[in-house]
């Protein structure tokens, strides 16, 4: 397929997975997954533990080998030159003396950090921290941050890439319900302001129903995909999660009465 055809085909698509298969030591983690991520929206990959959600993100980031095709076409030129990535839980050595400002600078500043963080770099980091409402964390040590604070710093780091595609792995893990709600509101606002495409993994249905514009239900295979109200039916949820999910479903999706202020939730969504 030549480039104009590709562009035509993926006019509204930021990422498309085509027959993606990942096999590790004889176990099929992703089985012929074909799914698309609409441009400019918030797409959630949901599924039970071990369904291959994170694997799908890692395949997109080029971290693991896969069979099939992944076309990332975030912008009108048909490319994704800048991807921001917010990992699930950053496993790192908490004893390492690194300040939040240094952490934000170390990927982009050329001058070695022994001579300190450059002034303009400090201002930039502070601005990015402000956009995630965390200016107060700038001088703190990275190892001393709480789960929620770390998540915001990681988001600031990803935003620093000025991403066209923002990939988040379980943004809700390790944060209480309130914190998670605020974090998702923050993301909704940022997406509206900066116009990136958001792709996140979640196993929390409440988050998905409130904030996603597009859902991919995954359990090794794609069980369903589409807008939340179409994809998250009782049958689909039972199919991927097994039993009990009807209960969660009825709790988190009371017909049309869910409290949601995210731009994606309005009825006449065009995102």
């Amino acid at each position: 397929m030549n480039k104009p055809d590709l562009l035509d085909k993926y006019a509204d698509t930021a990422v498309s997975f085509e027959s993606v298969t990942v096999e590790r030591e004889g176990i099929l983690i992703l089985d012929n997954v074909t799914a698309m991520v609409p441009r400019g929206g918030c797409t959630a990959i949901i599924g039970p533990n071990g369904a291959g959600k994170t694997t799908m993100l890692l395949a997109l980031l080029g971290e693991i080998q896969y069979k099939g095709f992944i076309h990332a076409t975030c912008n009108i030129n048909g490319r994704c030159s800048r991807i921001g990535y917010v990992p699930q839980r950053l496993t790192f050595d908490r004893g390492m003396p690194v300040t939040v400002t240094e952490f934000l600078a170390m990927g982009i500043q050329k001058k070695p950090l022994w001579f300190g963080v450059r002034n303009d770099m400090q201002k930039r980091s502070l601005a990015h921290l402000a956009s995630v409402k965390s200016e107060h964390l700038a001088k703190r040590k990275l190892g001393a941050l709480s789960g929620g604070e770390m998540q915001r710093v990681l988001l600031a780091l990803a935003l620093q890439q000025e991403p066209e595609l923002l990939v988040l792995d379980e943004p809700a893990s390790g944060v209480d319900f309130q914190g998670e709600y605020i974090f998702c509101e923050l993301l909704d606002g940022l997406r509206k302001e900066k116009g990136f495409t958001q792709l996140m993994v979640s196993h929390d249905l409440a988050t998905v129903t409130h904030h996603a514009t597009h859902v991919i239900c995954l359990n090794h295979k794609v069980a369903a995909q589409g807008p939340p109200r179409q994809a998250l039916t009782n049958e689909n949820l039972t199919a991927i999660f097994g039993m009990h999910m009807g209960m969660v479903d009825s709790r988190s999706m009371p017909d049309g009465s869910a409290i949601c202020s995210g731009p994606c939730c309005s009825k006449d969504q065009d995102a």
Binding site: L90, D93, V98, L113, Q161
Partner: protein, 288 residues
Amino acid sequence: MPDLSTIYQIISYILPFECLKAGFMQQAMIGLILLAPMAAVMGVQVVNFRMAFFSDAISHSAFAGVALGLIFSVSPHWTMPLFGLLVGLAIMAVQRKSTLSSDTVIGVFFSAVIAFGLAVVSRDRSVARDMQRFLYGDILTISNNDILFLLILFIALLIFQILSYNRLLYIGINPTLAKAHSIRVATYQYYFAGLLSLIVMFSVWAVGVLLVTAMLIVPAAAARNFARSAGAMFWWALLVSLTSAITGLIISAQDWANTATGATIILVACLWFMISVIFSFIRRDSVS
């Protein structure tokens, strides 16, 4: 022979100790002043990357490197660093490709290089005695050519660190994150492994196999306790390693001490580490 007499004069001017009047002591001092900061700075990253075992394996490949020199009758000055470099890059390559955990991969290489070294040495009893110097190290026999090579290595390392200190820190925090944010992780890792191997081999020369890991790790570990930022960690590691090297060398030459130089240097560094532990405890108390 390169002429380094000006540097020796400067040294004896700055450090007017009786023991530094001897030529070999001046050479040892220069060698250490070049080697200690290199080991310390690489050590900062060795600690961040949890690569202490890696550097241990490289240092133990010194035996095999010397053994190779004996087999092909080439000077061990050449075979040792080259073999170390080869082992370092090989470990990194296998580690990246293999699903085995990195300590297992290193463990296999570790055993292989030691066994090879011992096998060659065991054929010839007279060589076994020579091997002792690699166990304990002998900075006092360092030659002007060695110093010249250290100087070249020092400049290479300086350039490498200026270009990649920040990125290496990033990779040390989380390689997946660094890669997603367009850092060429593999390239940095190979360069780092290569340079580290060379520096480890030269540290073997100075302080011996047994203490080479200490020379890398101890200043960096102390620096971690003292520093509050990644920038400060660098300077603390330099301070600890340089002061340890200089005082260690001078103490070892005193009549009342008369100890092995390498061991004395490490002991001074460990003293620094103990102070840093106490310091970090006090700070934690005052914060909470």
